[in-house]
Amino acid sequence: MKFMVMVKATKDSEAGKLPDEKLLTDMGKYNEQLVNAGIMKAGEGLHPSSKGARVRFSGSQRKVIDGPFAETKELVAGFWIWETKSLQEAIDWVKKCPNPMPGEDSEIEIRQIFSPEDFGEAFTPELREQEQRLRAKSEKKG
């Protein structure tokens, strides 16, 4: 099963405050454990929402709103993609994570990623084939 593991934003991360060398080192060790266990598939950090934008959809209208966005706790500061055998295994790994936002209350959200089998009949053979082509090509690029 694949999971997206998201580190949620805090005041500090939204202010662009960077982790110190100690946290980076601890996080590096943790990432190494994830890689050695064959769990980590990807991982990225995001710039604060002040550098981002949101697009809202209404019929043919598109409204662009520049960041920052007020709902700090709902925002994503960084994420990993993991492959584990269960949600519980992902939770157990998250518990071992060094506190990603020292000095502040922080939260990590774990969400299961859809696999083609989850879609059942709505995911027609044509769509399935299209999806496989898409992944084969974009993974090569990534």
Binding site: V76, Q112, L127, K137
Partner: protein, 140 residues
């Protein structure tokens, strides 16, 4: 530059476990959009997420992990999926987001991914390892 396009569907925060996109037409339109992203050479990765009611949140009060199972009553906006794209500018990323066949209950947040060169020089050596790990863990 790399950007995440984060899909935020209103109402998904309270969706029941096992909720799936059912509209075949919408699904096909989204797949066509995905193919356009790929044909333009900008698509690096994409995934859809099961509702938060099937997930968990871990917080660290006082440094100790506390686990809560979904759904999360306080959540107003949750992620439904994402695209990771490689483009030349923030404007180009926003243009791609605008082309998405999204519905009126959906919103796309465009966020720039941190690259090693975005960090102060003294922290960059510590980050090189992350890049190698990321590269090593990607499928070939």
């Amino acid at each position: 530059m790399r950007f995440m396009m984060l899909m935020i569907p209103k109402g998904y925060e309270s969706a029941a476990p096992g909720t799936m996109p059912e509209d075949e037409k919408a699904l096909s339109a989204m797949m066509r959009y995905n193919e356009q992203l790929q044909q333009a050479g900008v698509l690096l990765a994409l995934d859809g997420l099961h509702p938060p009611s099937m997930g968990a949140r871990v917080s660290f009060p006082g440094g100790k992990p506390v686990v809560r199972d979904g759904p999360f009553a306080e959540a107003k906006e949750v992620l439904g999926g994402y695209w990771l794209i490689q483009v030349k500018s923030r404007e180009e990323a926003i243009e791609w987001a605008k082309r998405c066949p999204a519905g009126p209950n959906e919103m796309i947040e465009v966020r720039q991914v941190q690259e090693v060169q975005d960090w102060p020089e003294h922290l960059q050596p510590a980050l090189e390892g992350f890049v190698e790990m990321g590269a090593a863990s990607r499928p070939t």
